[in-house]
């Protein structure tokens, strides 16, 4: 009898554990004025959008491991108090691709909340054109603040448009600077050996000389240490790009990998590989492997995210207290535009309170909201020391984790100075000085295409891209000799390059 009972209990336990998995949790934000926070009420002045009744608006928020959404986050309370809105938040685990998957599921199955922030506007636009989200411009008359902001930031806003020219996304701005990639070098090593960058900005030959000198000093090293994305980031220095791009000087679309400049770039890299001035596994090296190279004095110059100067620098300091990265102007003074903002917010068209929701979205673009949702409230989330703002947290990461400020969804636009506060000296220098070298954001990166054009891009474009990627690896590694260059160019033209460029030209005409 007891054996059967145990078995029954185990089976029941198994069944219950199966039913206990839910992905979404509803955050109960109906906690305005809880006991602990009785003292500091009224976070803002009297900005109340809905002065009469509290309006409930639902919002989807990604639950990122670095800063999990807390119900008592300052950002949420600030929005609620300033606008008299109750935010009904649906948290979605954002590990890996979960957020995008959940988003797609909600669009397909129905049940989207009113407000949906997204990391990538392209995905949102696909569904928006099928009717999932409202067209922002249809309600422009009711959103004066947004209208004014768009007029001041027209170019930036255009990057969020769909291929039919409509604007379905409320543009975000402010986190682009974290995406910026810059050239940086081991300042302490250069100072130790009295090395100097010959002319600023350095030319490819100048770079080669420095690399040779570093190799003599450290024979085991690979002075120019990049990961595989280094090719894309370095190629603008040779006045070319690894893909189709719009040549502003000649007003036409060109394909980088068939240009003579690209050949020069590949020959330069090939020389570096032959002389062991760059790691032979540059195409397969992992991020950890690359960081190891930098920390162990096996690589001294690299191109990567500006934040790495601080994070890898901190790792390096554990071994060598003098370890320091310095900002280096890009080779030939040209760098790719990488400080791109992807985040945006969309409003679901099946929402029952569209008029209320757009009022809230409009509020996000007021100066008060931008300031509030970046820094918070003085005394509570930041204090002023020597006339400069300093957040009440250990770091920017901690700041976001504690208060939820500047996270996607709980703002549309935020100021950049709060991010820069956590940058080291050199990273700040990089952020301030890099823009002068950066190219304009190329239309190819954000131009939206119709379905027919997308088909050409995904067939001819993808195939040509694949062949070019394959070939560049073979040329650089020496598996293909540069004598075969003409055959390679002919092959690409045979694959339909002209048709691809033609498609882009026509799409750009429409875009303009």
């Amino acid at each position: 009898m007891s054996k059967k009972f145990i078995i029954l209990v185990l089976v029941l336990a198994m069944c219950f554990s199966l039913t206990a998995c839910t992905i979404t949790k509803k955050a109960d934000t109906n906690k305005d004025g809880t006991n602990e926070n009785q003292q500091d009420s009224s976070i803002t002045a009297e900005i109340k959008i809905f002065p009469k009744d509290k309006v409930t608006i639902s919002m989807l928020l990604p639950n990122v491991v670095s800063w999990p959404v807390q119900d008592d986050w300052f950002a949420i309370k600030a929005i609620e108090e300033a606008t008299n809105v109750k935010l009904d938040i649906q948290k979605v685990d954002a590990q890996g691709d979960n957020y995008n998957t959940k988003f797609s599921l909600l669009v397909a199955a129905g049940g989207l909340p009113d407000i949906v922030p997204l990391y990538s506007v392209t995905q949102g636009n696909i569904y928006a054109m099928q009717g999932a989200f409202i067209n922002v411009e249809n309600y422009m008359s009711k959103t004066p603040n947004l209208k004014k902001w768009i007029e001041e930031n027209k170019d930036h806003t255009d990057t969020f448009r769909a291929s039919n020219g409509n604007l379905y996304a409320y543009p975000g701005m402010g986190s682009g600077i974290d995406n910026r990639r810059v050239w940086f070098y081991r300042k302490d090593i250069f100072e130790k050996h009295n090395l100097k960058l010959p002319e600023t900005p350095v030319t490819p030959d100048g770079l080669y000389d420095i690399l040779k000198k570093l190799k003599e000093l450290y024979p085991d090293s690979y002075p120019l240490g990049n990961r595989s994305h280094g090719i894309e980031l370095m190629s603008p220095s040779w006045h070319t790009m690894e893909r189709v791009y719009y040549d502003f000087d000649n007003n036409k679309f060109v394909f980088g990998p068939v240009e003579d400049e690209w050949k020069e770039f590949l020959m330069f890299m090939n020389k570096l590989i032959k002389e062991q001035l760059t790691p032979p596994d540059m195409f397969s090296i992992t991020t950890t492997g690359w960081i190891d190279l930098l920390v162990q004095n096996k690589a001294f110059i690299t191109v990567d995210y500006v934040g790495r100067m601080d994070s890898v620098g901190a790792s390096g300091k554990e071994y060598n207290p003098n370890f320091e990265f310095g900002f280096m102007p890009p080779v030939n003074g040209v760098a790719k535009y990488t400080a791109v903002e992807y985040g945006c917010t969309l409003v679901s068209s099946s929402s029952r309170k569209i008029d209320d929701v757009i009022k809230l979205m409009d509020w996000f673009y007021t100066d008060e909201a931008i300031e509030l949702l970046t820094w918070g409230k003085e005394g509570k989330t930041y204090k002023i020391i020597d006339g400069k703002k300093q957040f009440i947290a250990d770091s920017y990461h901690d700041f976001v984790k504690k208060y939820g400020l500047t996270t996607i969804g709980l703002r549309t636009v935020h100021k950049e100075d709060v991010i820069m506060l956590s940058y080291g000296k050199e990273a700040v220098k990089a952020t301030l000085e890099s823009p002068q070298y950066e190219l304009r954001n190329n239309p190819v990166e954000y131009m939206q295409l119709t379905e027919a054009e997308n088909e050409i891009k995904s067939t001819i474009g993808a195939d040509i891209g694949k062949y070019a990627s394959e070939s560049r690896a073979q040329f650089i590694l020496g598996e293909k000799s540069f004598d075969e260059w003409d055959a390679y160019v002919k092959e690409i033209e045979k694959m339909g390059l002209a048709k691809l460029l033609d498609m882009y030209t026509k799409a750009y005409e429409r875009y303009k």
């Binding site: 397969s284 492997g289 997308n454 195939d463």
Partner: protein, 326 residues
């Protein structure tokens, strides 16, 4: 009158006796079901699972022939016929793709098949029970590692700067080989790491089958003067031949389904010519536009090829052995 009734009764009785089929069969079936009700209840969740998640969704295959619009739904999206299939086959690299996919699948089958079997046979000869269990447990631990972890290990071991394989090569003065960037090593790395990972897990079924062999057969053979090798060939292998053939047939059903994860993580620009398989190709296409229809069309093509191989394999198995799936 009574005689008349008696005659009819007897006729009805005869009729009932001459009708064993329906009612008695139904009674038999019912009795069988009731007798094995616990087994059927045990099977029920599996059946429900397959109906819900394998059979019912099958009708979604029709979006391979439509231009699937999310909001129009399955029924209202426009028909496009074989457009996506034509799109897939018109790619200039299609032969390379098919070759890569097929070769990786074929080599995985050929290499991934004998090793678990040999491992099970060897383990079966071990006398020390504790050691046997220990080895078996350790051998199927790698199966539970995720693909990302395994690829991370591969990248660690094969790195030209700090990987131990290259360090050994350097000691032997063979120079450094950047394994992960050479097309000639790609398939070897992919398949050997797969064999290592799944060796123990795939051997489990063989080990179980081996324990079912009657020990009397071995004793009889030993009396007749058979050595170990003879036992293997004449007793062990024939006894588990059914298991071997069945598992082999099931594997052929997966020959073209080269998973996306491992290939994607192991590949880089330098090995694209051998590392690009159907799934990575579709992923690249699909990245430009969330093209559900395209993905479904290619998936359908994959399944059809797998089915062809399975049918062919089964036909051969039926022809040349007594074991087959149907």
């Amino acid at each position: 009158m009574i005689l008349f009734v008696e005659i009819i009764k007897r006729e009805l009785n005869i009729k009932r006796l001459l009708q064993p089929d329906k009612s008695r069969q139904r009674n038999d079936l019912l009795r069988k079901v009731i007798r094995s009700k616990y087994l059927l209840i045990l099977l029920l969740p599996c059946i429900i699972y397959y109906i819900l998640f394998a059979y019912l969704p099958m009708w979604g295959i029709l979006i391979a022939f439509k231009n699937y619009q999310l909001f129009a739904g399955f029924l209202k999206s426009p028909w496009v016929g074989f457009k996506y299939f034509k799109l897939f086959f018109s790619s200039p690299d299609i032969f390379e793709l098919l070759r890569n996919t097929f070769l990786i699948g074929l080599y995985s089958l050929i290499w991934g098949f004998p090793f678990p079997l040999i491992f099970a046979l060897i383990l079966n000869e071990v006398k020390n029970l504790k050691f046997k269990k220990l080895v078996q447990t350790i051998s199927y631990m790698p199966h539970f590692l995720s693909t990302v972890v395994v690829v991370g290990l591969i990248q660690l071991f094969l790195s030209p700067t700090y990987g131990f394989v290259n360090q050994i090569l350097q000691r032997l003065r063979c120079g450094t080989i950047v394994f992960l960037q050479k097309s000639s090593y790609f398939r070897t790395i992919y398949i050997s790491s797969g064999v290592w990972q799944n060796l123990g897990w795939n051997a489990i079924i063989y080990i179980a089958a081996l324990t079912n062999i009657d020990p009397n057969l071995y004793e009889a053979a030993k009396i007749d003067g058979a050595n170990r090798f003879n036992c293997l060939i004449y007793i062990t292998l024939p006894c588990i031949s059914q298991t071997i053939i069945t598992l082999f047939l099931l594997s052929t059903g997966n020959i073209v389904s080269v998973g996306f994860e491992k290939v994607f993580l192991l590949s880089n620009d330098a090995v694209l010519n051998v590392a690009d398989v159907i799934q990575t190709y579709v992923w690249r296409q699909g990245l430009q536009n969330a093209n559900f229809s395209y993905g479904t069309a290619v998936g359908l093509f994959n399944s059809v090829i797998n089915l062809l191989f399975l049918v062919m394999g089964n036909f051969l198995a039926r022809r040349y052995s007594e074991t087959s799936l149907w």
